[in-house]
Amino acid sequence: MRKDAQRIILAAGAVTALMLCPATLCPTLRAQSPTAIPAATRLNKDFVDEVGRTVRVPQPVQRVISLAPSLTETIYALGLQERLVADTDFCDYPPEALKKPKVGGAINPSLEQIVALRPDLVLVTKSLNRLETVHALDGLGIPSYATDPHTVEEIVSSTERLAGVLGVPDAGAALAADLERHLADLRQRLSGLPPRHVLFVVWSDPLISAGKNTFIADALRLAGASSIVDSSQDWPQMSLEEVVRLQPDFLVFAESHSDSGQSQFDLLAERPGWRGLDAVRNRRFAVISDAVNRPAPRIVSAIEDLARQLHPEVFSAHPEGEKEKKIPPSAQPPLSSSLMASSDGDSTLLEVCVCAP
């Protein structure tokens, strides 16, 4: 009763019918469709990006799309905002960046929008964007340049290199020199001071901190702090028990709106286990700009801000030479010195209260 022959003919017929329509259409099309941007008469220059790919970039670069908030900030810092044709939904600094056309999120940008804007170059960063996005751009013939800084030093050098790719090496060198100057000044002020043990709160519920291999950990080091978190994971979820055991001197919050850091502190302080923390009991916390979360030039000012809050004694109005004499390391105010939020609560101005032991 089996109608094998008929079945096989049927199956074969169905297969060929299906094969004929879309499956075969696509490859021929792909072969025939031209590459993305008419390279025409423009010169190309090869660069090796920070993940080791060789990228052919049309010169001069006139239309750039940034797929990360940090890269958008860097472009503005280099004064190239006119060439930025689009950025992501999360690019909120400087505020003008909000007005740029958007291509969706960093993880899942709209390839259609990117193609429609005909960029010369798309900027990506390894810590945020996906490899698949880069592959897809490659397939569409759109060059993409990837950055991958892991320390503050690398953020500076990465910025300078990116300026070279974008054809403004002088602006890059000037910006890098300025950042280096600030960092050197900071290093000098903080030399010899014992680091503050801090808990950097990336997210409070659940409690997420930054691991030791992130640029945030490096930024904390440069600000005269050391993270109590010693995790090789980049964004470890911390248990409260562990935090209580490690007893940080300070909690550090990064906020885009200056007074929400304090409300975040108050929220944490209300939770049962947190009252056991000395830092919470003594209201020792620092609030800095969320620039610290982004591998962009602005991180240096966030580092300075944090250093000021953690080590106010070396940032007095006095010139450096005098200050060194006035507050020798031995006379450092002990840990009982606490940063108190001003009582009116609407200001982020933190006053120092040195409680004599």
Binding site: R2, C21, P22, C26, S33, K102, G105, D234
Partner: protein, 346 residues
Amino acid sequence: MRPLTFSRLLLHCAILSAILFVVVVIALKLGAVPVSLYGLGRDLLRVLFRQTSQLSSEYQLIIFDIRLPRILLGIFVGASLAVAGASFQALLRNPLADPYVLGVSSGAAVGAIIALIVEPHLSLAPAVAALLTPVGAFLGAALTVTAVYFLGLRQGQIDSSTLLLAGIISASLLSAIIMFFMATLTGGNYRGMAFWMMGELSTPPQRIVSLVLRFGFFLAAGAIYTTASDLNLLLAGEKEAMHLGVDVRRVRLVVYIAASLLTGLAVSVSGAIGYVGLLVPHVMRLLFGSDHRILLPTAAFGGAIALVVADTLARTVVSPAELPVGAMTAIAGAPLFLYLMRRRLA
């Protein structure tokens, strides 16, 4: 058994492919970047008449290099899931069986992730490395099917509720394993891993992978189709089918391997997408009857139509951002499934 009339099958397939064509054209038109229907039609005609040099270059990259490949991916993934679902439902004689419910999709996802983890440690040629994920997904799917099948046995017979429980528990265990990987792995390119949980079509697979997907679909679906008459007899029960001369062991082997291949391939390019494999065969059964010689091809078309529609919604509803297509199929699929269930009870 009612003899299969060739013309009836052709008619159904013709209707469904016409619907699929309309859906594809609409899907090509809609998207983050607006494209006029006129421009689209003109470009499509030029392609049909092989005058590709005259294509308006304005949006052809968007239409032919971004939207069309994604639609094709949706067609093959949807068809694979629906055929796998229809054959699981027949073989296990269980209307609730589908790759997602049985944990096969989660198993494929875990296999794919493990492949992703070991891949950097093996120095493989790029083409081989790209194929490691589908292979891992297939192995994960096949292992899960085997495990769930044996867990679902009761005194040597498949027991519906035991099988479903085994599938659901396996799925949640495997999802927990995926969560574990997501929480502990750092440094690699695992950011896209959430997509194995929810399912999405926005990531274009590498060329070799999409070729394997298409080829594997025809191979596996063809293999399942050769058992279509046997699946009809199996509906009466395994013993009964055996008495009617069906080589049940062979059918089971063919269908499990082929359905695992379909699921593994689909999951490796799109993550775990639910409801397509569950619902589409039911709808097709309501429309065209439960003769598998007709059900299997119509389910393939139905799955393709359903997933292309769902993905078009997923990428246009909150444009330019996107929803995972798995969320879309669940939003549409769950109420429809409940409706069908109530209707059957009534």
